[in-house]
Symmetry: C2
Subunit: 497 residues, 2 copies
């Protein structure tokens, strides 16, 4: 190994050490920290984050990239150089004072968002959002793009994806989803999810969640399960990947499906190739691919008929007396109820992507100047009515529900819907290799985990999302598999014609 | 404020931010981390610790010290400059390569200590300890001293203390303790601590511990209680001071007295003046003063007759049925049983200081060349027999019990005994101001906490230990108060003549 290679690895080790400390602080902030400790802690996060940024845009980093790029080095170093160059160029492209101003504005904007929510009044947020949109337009220019300005933002979250691709796939997906939702609304099949809304003690939910995580192959020697308000999974390092969940004693679905979802993210991070540890590649390929793993486990496995055929007994083992007379078919339908609703994070797997498509269409128009911030509430409500058949009564259940835009994040939303499409493609690919249904029905998840590890997890960021999907499924992004999966599943449940 | 003052404050903020991250990692390492995550985490600690060291010995720090020392600045800045200079000079005085070598050796030595313990064989540790003693001799020279080489080490843990002072106070204390122990051995009073050794469920112990912490005035909005193997308290920042404890279901004393002890440390850190936050002064005055606070609460309050007069009902509220017939007098005596034993950390409050005096006498001789490492086991066992009347059967229950020497820490042990003496002096001083016994008997701890905050806690490191003790008690270190307290207490319990 040359001394430059060694320097480069050392630099990445430093970055990963700081990132590890930051991740632990984030986990603690959302699980354990006493209230008064937060103020000073946020200063500590700022300092450590600054150090990471300094290293990523340092002269030393620039030299390493220049000297190593295209050289004959190991694939891991070569790919790391590419990733570091991408980050370096991004960091260099935005003038520091502009970025600092943007961060300050985002912070104020989040406060305004809170107030706007309390008062159900978007106009409180609007002036901040206008400025944040302008900043994002500039950032998109700095990043560069070929066809659509929005690409400059999208690429940051999902490298290689373009507005052109998204327009194409969303335009295929959207009418099918709208049509399915309409048919379901007209279906005579009664699906009653209220029979799930019975007292289920927290400790029993926790024990059940732990049992399911264990069956999924989550490694408890390299992770743990904690309680939080907004659940997440976090890789503090590759051997310490923690899951969090929330327990609602009157609705066990929050905890159990939340845990399976976050467990899917965690399996990804736990099974990255050790060769990538302490490099910039020791994480998921993209936001979208990461989401495909959580959604694969939550929906394609966790809400499947096969899964509950093998786990309904386990459920009854942990569930209190009042659930014991519940019939399998009613249960299965209840956990798969489709019901258009205002709030994205509460949406079922069918309507979820429509929520995303609305956000995508609106933010794309904002960035391209085809829509003004002041016109957002009306545009939002109109699309809700058109796609989901319901209209928000106020801004809180409308466009004030998500923090993303208020925090300055534009271009992020599509990754959620990409996750669904990737997951369906992966679901199709895995079925070609192993008898997936039967494995799920027997609760034998080891071969599934092994397949995902071999094809996806171990590669970390060694492959770009579309490259990975192409290699795993034999084709590029294709919404047909999601369409097929949802159509089959809900045609059966709601007996559609 | 001048720009140098601002630079200096910024530098200290950076140091405290890194220290905050390190403290959180330490807390997590001992409470929550999954086993496999430890390896990489230790690299992260090393990196962050290096950054702290770099800042403390940086050119920028040197300039700040030079420019600000003796200038007309605020008392906080002036005292911070003094403290930073002390650290700077210490860091500068030891050649880097020597220090690195010492750290490496300590690490190997700790591994050897583990092996030596497993095999009950000191000779496995001896060659490492010999080198560590030589390093410590050199460090003492670098630090400088007037009379005794040992002062150069002692001062690092307890600024201002000298071997001369320690010799004087320990020589006063030792014969009294030995005499009391002998008399107790001959006493006819039956104290039976075995009646405490009954099943006490963990959750009930936890609830009891939380109730006591709450009564002490511990602020749960600025802290929390977690479980660990070797209990500790840690100030992650001044508004996030966490306590940990251990639950032994067959001996509730471990948790309850451990919690009160760590709670005493935590009250100190929680009540430091906000003016000192994010400076190098935002911690206890010294190890000894810190220990005085934990011991004051654990023993002078927590093992007092008055305390249990008001808390015996609370104890019975949480204790299971089998404790309900326990009589107050038997209980009070049992929690104050004196029984010479081999292990320091299991010692009662009377024999504890004798364990410390043995260690002090031996390490002082090692540093001054009056004792060879190879002769340690015999010297240890002889002193145990002489002071405590018992002789270890092997090295594990002898000098292999503590990690301190194996970790290269020499000069630390005396601070434990100083804590006892300081605590007794403080106990005496507080009684002159408020009706302490009555407050404890009524469970009214607010005035006690307020007194300790006003006189001790809020000052952080603004005062040196002896300066603080002098101001709080009107005199310097004086073992008479501890002698008087122990004599009175145990004369009453054991009906000594």
């Amino acid at each position: 190994m040359t001394s430059t290679e060694q320097n480069f690895l050392d630099l990445m080790k430093q970055i990963s050490a700081y990132s590890e400390a930051i991740s632990l602080i984030h986990w603690d902030l959302r699980t354990h920290i006493p209230q008064k400790g937060m103020e000073q802690r946020s200063e500590t996060i700022s300092l450590l984050s600054e150090k990471v940024t300094e290293l990523k845009r340092s002269e030393q980093m620039k030299q390493c990239i220049t000297e190593l790029k295209g050289n004959k080095t190991s694939p891991v170093i070569q790919k790391s150089v590419e990733e570091c160059e991408r980050i370096y160029q991004k960091q260099q492209s935005i003038p520091t004072d502009e970025y600092v101003e943007f961060i300050r504005l985002s912070s104020k904007s989040e406060t305004a968002w809170q107030e706007a929510r309390e008062k159900h009044d978007f106009s409180i947020l609007a002036p901040y959002l206008e400025k944040l949109v302008e900043f994002n337009k500039k950032f998109a220019e700095y990043q560069g793009y070929t066809d659509n300005k929005y690409d400059g933002l999208l690429n940051d979250y999902e490298p290689g994806l373009t507005t052109e691709i998204l327009d194409r796939v969303f335009n295929q997906l959207k009418p099918v989803l709208i049509d399915l939702v309409k048919k379901i609304n007209q279906s005579n099949v009664e699906v009653d999810s209220s029979l799930l809304l019975k007292q289920f003690p927290k400790q029993a939910q926790k024990d059940f969640s732990l049992a399911v995580l264990d069956k999924m192959g989550y490694d408890f020697e390299a992770g743990r399960l904690d309680e939080t308000i907004h659940p997440f999974a976090i890789g503090i390092n590759s051997n310490d990947v923690r899951v969090t969940t929330r327990y609602d004693e009157m609705d066990f679905r929050t905890a159990i499906f939340g845990t399976i979802h976050e467990g899917g993210h965690a399996l990804y991070e736990q099974n990255i190739d050790p060769d990538l540890y302490q490099t910039v590649l020791a994480s998921g390929a993209s936001m979208g691919i990461h989401e495909s793993q959580s959604l694969f486990w939550e929906n394609f496995v966790g809400r499947s008929r096969s899964f509950w055929e093998s786990h309904f007994d386990l459920f009854k083992k942990y569930a209190p007396e009042s659930f014991q007379s519940l019939e399998f078919e009613s249960f299965y339908r209840a956990i798969n109820e489709v019901k258009p609703s205002m709030i994205r994070i509460e949406a079922d797997e069918l309507t979820y992507s429509l929520h995303i498509i609305i956000r995508y269409e609106l933010e794309k128009e904002l960035i391209n100047g085809d829509l003004q911030v002041k016109d957002l509430p009306e545009a939002w409500n109109t699309k809700m009515e058109e796609y989901l058949g319901i209209r928000p009564e106020n801004d809180l259940e409308g466009l004030l529900q998500d923090i993303h835009w208020a925090a300055g994040d534009i271009g992020y939303f599509p990754t959620y819907a990409l996750g669904y499409m990737y997951a369906a493609q992966i679901y199709n690919a895995i079925k070609a290799d192993i008898n997936l249904d039967q494995m799920i029905r027997f609760g034998d998840f080891e071969p599934i985990k092994a397949w995902l590890t071999e094809k996806i997890h171990r590669h970390g960021k060694m492959k770009q999302p579309l490259e990975l999907i192409e290699q795993v499924t034999g084709e590029g992004l294709n919404p047909d598999y999601l369409i097929q999966y949802l159509t089959n599943k809900y045609t059966e449940i709601y007996q559609l014609r």
